[in-house]
Subunit: 350 residues, 2 copies
């Protein structure tokens, strides 16, 4: 049985989308159980319409709902201890749930998650990991927005966190890892990135196949399983790629409806376009995973529809089923147990 | 008459691609003249095959050619005063040419350009600007790789440089400008980005319509005419977008050749696909413009084919024809003339 806590009040649509999406998950994953947090008057009517969901769910009323435009500090002040978002996170801390999903505002969710769950030992700052579709399959990219200007040690931590996630989710024994960098020779990279590269090479962890620097276009190629960067450039890379995908979809739509011949061609190739749409469907890869906390929290896109929110919930399900958490802990212990030795090595080299 | 100096030895293909591409430009722009720099034995045979190009070109032999894998410091040491790259840049300085185009290695080209041409007064560091196709048309994005970790003043300078380029190239009187940032509320942006935003707002320049922060997906939407960022995230955004475009083209190709129906559909819609290919054709937007130097230098992609290199040359042509340089100078003077006043304003506010 896998238990997932749900903030039903998050996102642009609230319970009207969140609850039907849970039903989809319940139908596909018979051992999933939900603890749903939200306002009684908003959640109960929807839940009453979905008896099959009610069978696998507990509902907890919460007075407060964090708004999408609340500042994180404001959300913490008004929503701590009592909001649906806080309660859903807290369920992970108390052990009532194995993972928490919210489509609420990212800043508030991260602030509350840090405050409630705290970071794992040896981890200074959490990261948000995204699953990125590539030509070869899927890669993990982190951080896509939690920490701006990570230092070398934090980048190394992200590499460990991301590799553990790839190991568990994609079932790759020793995931390949690259540090995101720029290609111009003279100015190759920020100091932190270079230093993180040296540290990863020296650490020579059994759980990470460190492959050096990668560039922005390597992400989509799937050059490595895990792409590590700090949150500013990671967020910009993710959004630039999303923007480009939408832009091309727009071009394609315009081109295919412009002439009669194109429209006829479209009819014949409808199946192929359907497959392409599925490939490009961002709903299926919905979910930013907060890594480095003492518990799993997943942020769904605020605008997610039923299938989108269901994808985020199923991502949480898979994270638990595959034991990401224990695998992360094991690699972190390995790395930090070896660090004093590495430091000695560095001194004797000098 | 517009005179363009050409480093014929740069790029993956050298004179074999560079010279035929110049012929294309010559046919489309009858008032273009070229000064071609390169090794006699490599350039002369190709030039002899192209009499129409010879009519509008001067050729200057240079002993040294900068290699694509030379480090910038190495290129400067070995190629200063004498390489085809240096000579092509120097032609702009001496006034023998109005702009310089090279497909040689970016680091070396930037190092030599800075050394030979120097930065404009009031500009500390140059930027590389890219023309980015958007749903609305085209935008300018800078810096895409010259300066890592620009400070607030440098970001403001980039805004001025980019706006002047948009004004001249796109013929927009008061281009809209946005600072690239991340969307998560609590951690919204690096300090430098916030500070640059305040400075742009205070300066209230007549030549810039400053619109605040934009995110990665706003670039492709064409939300603003000019997107300003520092070189690390700009380079990563550009490459992530290029990678995504290639990835989708790959998906599309696979989808359209997989079934008989899809192949038939493709035949009908061939014209539409052709238009889409043209829209997505990166060759047509080839050329990174070095801004902030006392002269125009354009870097063509090293792997550019004839049409690609021709696009970079024509971009240089348009930059000169539209008077980017004088317009940049005018805005810079306006801004810096007003700066003491702004500083006084800031003090009296405190």
């Amino acid at each position: 049985m896998i238990r997932i806590s749900i903030d039903a009040m998050g996102g642009d649509h609230g319970p009207e989308v969140v609850l039907p999406s849970l039903l989809r998950v319940a139908e596909r994953r018979p051992d999933a159980r939900f603890v749903i947090f939200g306002r009684e008057e908003a959640v109960r009517p929807v839940l009453d319409r979905l008896p099959r969901l009610r069978e696998v769910s507990d509902f907890v009323h919460c007075d407060v709902a964090v708004r999408m435009d609340d500042k994180p500090s404001q959300a913490l002040r008004q929503g701590r201890w009592k909001s649906s978002m806080w309660k859903a996170i807290e369920a992970v801390k108390t052990g009532d749930a194995d993972a928490c999903i919210s489509a609420g505002n990212t800043g508030a969710l991260m602030a509350m998650s840090k405050f409630c769950l705290r970071t794992m030992a040896d981890i200074e700052r959490p990261a948000i990991a995204a699953i990125w579709p590539t030509i070869r399959g899927e890669s993990i990219v982190l951080d896509v927005g939690a920490t701006i200007g990570a230092d070398a040690q934090q980048l190394v931590d992200f590499a460990i966190l991301g590799a553990a996630m790839a190991n568990a989710l994609f079932d790759i024994e020793r995931p390949t890892v690259g540090l995101l960098n720029v290609g111009v020779e003279e100015i190759k990279g920020q100091e932190e990135v270079k230093e993180a590269g040296r540290m990863l090479r020296e650490a020579a962890l059994e759980t990470i196949d460190y492959r050096g620097f990668v560039e922005g276009d390597d992400i989509g190629k799937g050059t490595v399983d895990v792409v590590v960067t700090e949150g500013f450039s990671g967020n910009i890379a993710l959004k630039a790629a999303e923007g480009t995908a939408r832009q091309i979809a727009e071009y394609l739509r315009a081109a295919m409806s412009r002439t009669l011949m194109a429209r006829i061609g479209y009819l014949f190739a409808r199946g192929a376009f359907q497959r392409l749409r599925e490939k490009m469907d961002v709903r299926k890869i919905n979910g930013g995973v907060f890594l480095g906390l003492k518990g799993i929290v997943i942020k769904s896109h605020g605008a997610a529809d039923e299938e989108g929110f269901a994808a985020a919930v199923e991502l949480g399900y898979e994270m638990i089923r595959s034991g990401v958490f224990d695998k992360t802990r094991a690699t972190l212990d390995l790395y930090h147990a070896r660090r004093p030795m590495l430091a000695v090595g560095a001194v004797s080299d000098a």
